[in-house]
């Protein structure tokens, strides 16, 4: 069974204080690892897909990296508008009944950036 553990559960930063969020995973054949941002009262918003160890992707102040056991979401010089819950999910190679590869989500890291 695929598993995803995110840490920390909550993180408070001052504006400009860089940090990293962790996503540890176990999966039977990684098809993809996803990062999402979720604002209160909204559905998750796609950020990145990573496919193989060593891969990195960047978007504005965010950079996602991937190893064989974990992924990091690095936030450089965060701003208050980066405050949100960040979700990690893995899609394994096990085809589920119904013919789909269903991602397994972590519980998320709630990030608050103070001005």
């Amino acid at each position: 069974e695929d598993q995803v553990t995110q840490s920390p559960e909550a993180l408070r930063l001052q504006e400009g204080e860089s940090s990293s969020l962790n996503c540890s995973y176990t999966v039977s054949g990684l098809r993809g690892l996803f990062w999402y941002r979720q604002d209160p009262g909204k559905g998750p918003e796609f950020l990145f897909t990573l496919y193989s160890a060593g891969e990195e992707k960047e978007k504005e102040r965010l950079k996602a990296t991937l190893t064989k056991k974990e992924s990091f979401l690095h936030i450089t010089a965060p701003k208050p508008e980066d405050s949100a819950t960040y979700l990690c999910a893995v899609q394994g190679a096990s085809l589920r009944q119904g013919g789909s590869y269903i991602p397994t989500f972590g519980r998320g890291t709630s990030l608050i950036v103070h001005p």
Partner: protein, 114 residues
């Protein structure tokens, strides 16, 4: 990537009643997914809905409690039946996005059962 319109965005319901949540996608998709997100918990898949066939339910979820309709390739509904306070949660629909873009989600329905 597909855009999903989900409604209602929130509702407060009496226990024992039912609520139907609708999701409309702006393009045709084969599979639609229904999730539940309880406070502090991860997204939990309820069922996968394919057009023209019965929905496939995950362990712990049954059709009598969460009946799903999928009348065409752009629309689906999830009904939460005979509600209890334990059903209070956020319900989300989702579709697979273009390759490399993961999954697209609706804006969610925040359900409170009193």
């Amino acid at each position: 990537s597909a855009v999903i319109s989900q409604k209602p965005s929130r509702d407060i319901c009496q226990r024992g009643t039912s609520l139907t949540i609708q999701c409309q996608v702006d393009s045709q998709v084969t599979m639609m997914f229904w999730y539940r997100q309880q406070p502090g918990q991860s997204l939990t898949l309820i069922a996968t809905a394919n057009q023209g066939s019965e929905a496939t339910y995950e362990s712990g979820f049954v059709i009598d409690k969460f009946p799903i309709s999928r009348p065409n390739l752009t629309f689906s509904t999830l009904t939460v039946s005979n509600m209890s306070p334990e059903d209070s949660s956020i319900y989300l629909c989702s579709v697979e996005a273009d390759k490399g873009y993961g999954y697209t989600f609706g804006s969610g329905t925040r359900l409170t059962v009193v």
